[in-house]
């Protein structure tokens, strides 16, 4: 309900007018865009191109080549005519050694850091050290952002007079959209059911959960693909740490830090979709991603376990953390046990077949109802998908969620849980195809 009133409010608001002011004002805060890249040779050019065409008065792009073993650096050197410069940076956060700083001869606001490999968090910390502006944004090498993305996400920060210290925009799936030269031409849908289900999943997570949580300052996650942070607060809170889900961990830490300092600062979330990212389109990679996410969730929760049920941290400790622990983290396990029990009892005959069927139908409807509602909500409030066909496809797909997709994710998440507890580290690779059509 909380999320309903907020997002309907901006339905049909003009796309550009509210931000015109920001574009012209000197008071708009400049932003450093950090793009960590590790072996991203395939997609890096497209995403940097999309960054060069964004509309924002003042920004710099810092690509951090995290000791890539492929030709990422050479490609950048060649395409952007990089030349080595002397740049003084403040070592406010620890990071691996920086081998060199380069600047593009064509775009003076494009800087490339070449450093020794140290992982994503380490790369981001190096980027923060080197950045010049009071706000920064971390961006994955494989996402495409809309031209007005920064205006939209920074608007609440600027208008709040720095009370908002981090702001995230919602992420949508790029597969199926028409993207040329790093720019989103038109929104479309993929034909792949796995991708379609993920689209619905994103709608659900973003439209209901996060907006609702944000208006109460309960937001824990700023999606890995798009978030703007106040540099000062991140540095004070200690920067990124090496975990699987470094974004989520950082957000939790910021919340914690803010509460410990007893200041009134907010982390908010903008429902407007501003960033389009490539989703895994095969079960193999989707499984890896889900397992990784679940491990990330666990690490973040574990690291900050002292916040849980601690009244000192207000609603974060009493509501958000328990929610993420019980519903998001433990939920899949409970669900899996439920599925298993159902099957076992069917065979042992300890449950009548009618009940089993009834139960099955119930869970079917329950699971899908939420997703259907999310699809309807998107249509009611955002209308990002232009065609009637898009809407009907999504709606019909959401009906089938419980039948196949949900059980799969449940199994993967439980796998992730087991790995988290038995301590598997690392990312698992994902082969990037690059989302740009050029």
């Amino acid at each position: 309900m909380l999320s309903l009133s907020h997002i309907r409010k901006i339905y049909q608001l003009d796309e550009y007018e509210p931000y015109e002011e920001l574009l012209q004002s000197e008071y708009t805060k400049p932003v450093s865009i950090l793009v960590p890249a590790y072996n991203e040779s395939a997609g890096i050019y497209g995403s940097i191109r999309s960054l060069l065409s964004i509309e924002y008065p003042e920004y710099e792009i810092i690509i951090i080549n995290d000791g890539s073993t492929d030709d990422t650096l050479e490609k950048l050197m060649d395409k952007f005519q990089l030349k080595k410069i002397h740049r003084v940076y403040r070592k406010q956060l620890e990071s691996k050694r920086i081998r060199g700083v380069y600047q593009s001869a064509i775009y003076p606001h494009l800087v490339v850091l070449d450093k020794e490999n140290g992982g994503k968090a380490d790369a981001l910390n190096a980027g923060i050290n080197c950045s010049r502006y009071p706000y920064f944004c971390s961006l994955d090498g494989d996402s495409i952002i809309e031209r007005h993305a920064f205006l939209k996400v920074l608007k609440p920060i600027i208008e709040s007079d720095d009370e908002v210290i981090a702001s995230g925009g919602s992420v949508r799936i790029a597969n199926g959209c028409d993207i040329q030269n790093g720019e989103l031409k038109s929104v479309g849908l993929s034909n792949n059911p796995i991708v379609l289900m993920q689209v619905i999943e994103y709608l659900r997570a973003f439209l209901t959960g996060r907006v609702g949580l944000s208006s109460n300052n309960l937001l824990l996650i700023i999606s890995g693909a798009f978030g703007v942070f106040s540099k000062r607060w991140v540095v004070e809170a200690g920067g990124y740490t090496h975990t699987v889900g470094e974004d989520m961990e950082l957000v939790v830490r910021l919340h914690r830090y803010v509460k410990e300092q007893k200041v009134n600062k907010k982390i908010i979330y903008v429902p407007d979709p501003v960033c389009w990212t490539e989703a895994p389109d095969s079960l193999k990679y989707l499984r890896r991603q889900r397992k990784r996410w679940h491990r990330g969730l666990f690490e973040s929760l574990w690291k900050h376990k002292r916040v849980m049920f601690n009244p000192k941290y207000g609603s974060i400790g009493l509501f958000s953390m328990p929610y993420f622990f019980f519903i998001e983290f433990l939920g899949p396990l409970v669900e899996l046990i439920g599925y298993l029990l159902l099957i076992v009892s069917l065979f042992t005959g300890s449950i009548q077949i009618q009940y089993a069927l009834l139960f099955f139908l119930l869970s079917l409807i329950y699971g899908s109802v939420y997703s259907m509602a999310a699809v309807l909500l998107e249509e009611w409030s955002m209308e990002k998908y232009p065609k009637v066909k898009h809407f009907t496809t999504l709606f019909l797909m959401s009906l089938t969620e419980t039948l196949w997709y949900r059980p799969l994710t449940v199994i993967w998440r439980v796998e992730g849980m087991i790995e988290a507890i038995f301590g598997k580290k690392g990312w698992g690779e994902m082969v990037r195809k690059g989302v740009s059509n050029d």
Partner: protein
């Protein structure tokens, strides 16, 4: 017991499912109709495009019906706003204004009374784009209405400032505390000079936040007439006011009394040091060159960077930095000098 509950739950879900499916049909139909309407609006736009362009160029209005349906009005609004972004010039502005006054006033008046916030906002933006000064009475009405949101109020104040409404100064004096600094800046930047003078005349009675912004505004708009106010504020005890007035000096080029800033170089507050450095660079105060060189070794990074930048503004700036690189024993100062010499006057400054 369980039997009843399960059955009940089942019914509840069925009802829910039913509601969702009906909603789905409703929204599908709505989407379909909307897409149709969009197509019609686009068709109208194409139909009117030339006529509107011709009118804006020459001022001769063709045979445009006076009583237009809603879709046609929307098409016109979109056309006008496309044009108002690309064609500039006072006659064009005047024509846009006249055209909008005739054809879309009624529509906007209705939109301003809408229940949904976004539609009211859009109407306010249109009023701004089409210079619809005659809408001012509706603006006052909306401003005073209870339940008008802060963002609407900010936009209304900006419009009143732009249209040079006599009430703007009073409204500003009693504004809501929660209006953001950013909104206040955008309002004050479009205010006419006389109105701003009127506001500044009561400077000491203004709320603190408004004072800060007024000082910024003196700098940004280079209001040299308020020189004496700045002079007084630099000596004020309050640090924030000092910092802001130094910034105003740096931005406006109003000559500063060099002695007044001397003590700021030694301040514990790095922002004060930075601003003092900035002012002496902007105004090229010769006497402080050696101080600036010392400040290349300031513990605060921002101050060091600002000092290098300030030195570069002097005629012999490059030579000074070169000397620092050769002679200084401080690695921080050297680094900073190397970096800024490399950047030179290329304008690539942060």
């Amino acid at each position: 017991m369980i039997e009843i509950n399960l059955a009940l739950l089942f019914i509840v879900f069925l009802i829910l499912l039913f509601i969702l499916i009906s909603l789905f049909f409703y929204l599908t139909v709505k989407k379909y109709l909307k897409n149709q309407m969009r197509q019609r609006i686009d068709a109208f736009k194409e139909e009117y495009r030339l006529a509107v362009f011709h009118y804006l160029q020459s001022g001769q209005s063709g045979a445009m019906e006076s009583d237009l349906g809603e879709e046609k009005v929307i098409a016109l609004i979109e056309l006008l706003s496309d044009y108002s972004n690309v064609i500039v010039g006072s006659d064009v502005e005047e024509r846009i204004h006249l055209f909008a006054k005739e054809h879309i006033t009624d529509f906007l008046k209705k939109e301003l009374k809408q229940k949904r916030w976004s539609l009211r906002m859009n109407a306010l933006f249109s009023i701004e784009d089409f210079y619809m000064v005659h809408c001012v009475p509706f603006l006052h009405e909306l401003y005073q209405r209870r339940g008008t949101s802060l963002s609407e109020k900010a936009q209304i104040l900006k419009l009143l400032a732009k249209f040079d409404d006599p009430k703007i100064v009073d409204y500003l004096k009693e504004t809501d505390e929660s209006l953001s600094e950013f909104s206040l800046v955008s309002i004050l930047s479009v205010m006419e000079d006389e109105k701003l003078d009127e506001l500044i005349a009561g400077f000491d009675d203004l709320p603190k936040r408004m004072q800060y912004i007024v000082v910024d505004m003196i700098g940004r708009r280079q209001l040299t007439g308020h020189h004496s106010l700045l002079q007084r504020l630099v000596l004020e005890d309050e640090t924030e006011l000092r910092i802001r007035s130094l910034k105003a000096y740096a931005n406006s080029g109003i000559p500063i009394d060099a002695e007044a800033i001397y003590e700021f170089f030694k301040s514990d507050n790095w922002q004060l040091r930075m601003m003092a450095v900035k002012v002496s660079g902007m105004q090229r105060i010769e006497g402080y060159q050696s101080t600036l060189i010392t400040l290349l070794s300031d513990p605060e990074y921002v101050v060091r960077a600002e000092a290098a930048k300030a030195l570069l503004r002097f005629k012999e700036g490059e030579a000074i930095l070169q000397r620092v690189i050769e002679e200084s024993k401080d690695a921080f100062a050297k680094d900073m000098a190397v970096e800024w010499l490399e950047k030179g006057g290329s304008g690539y400054s942060y």
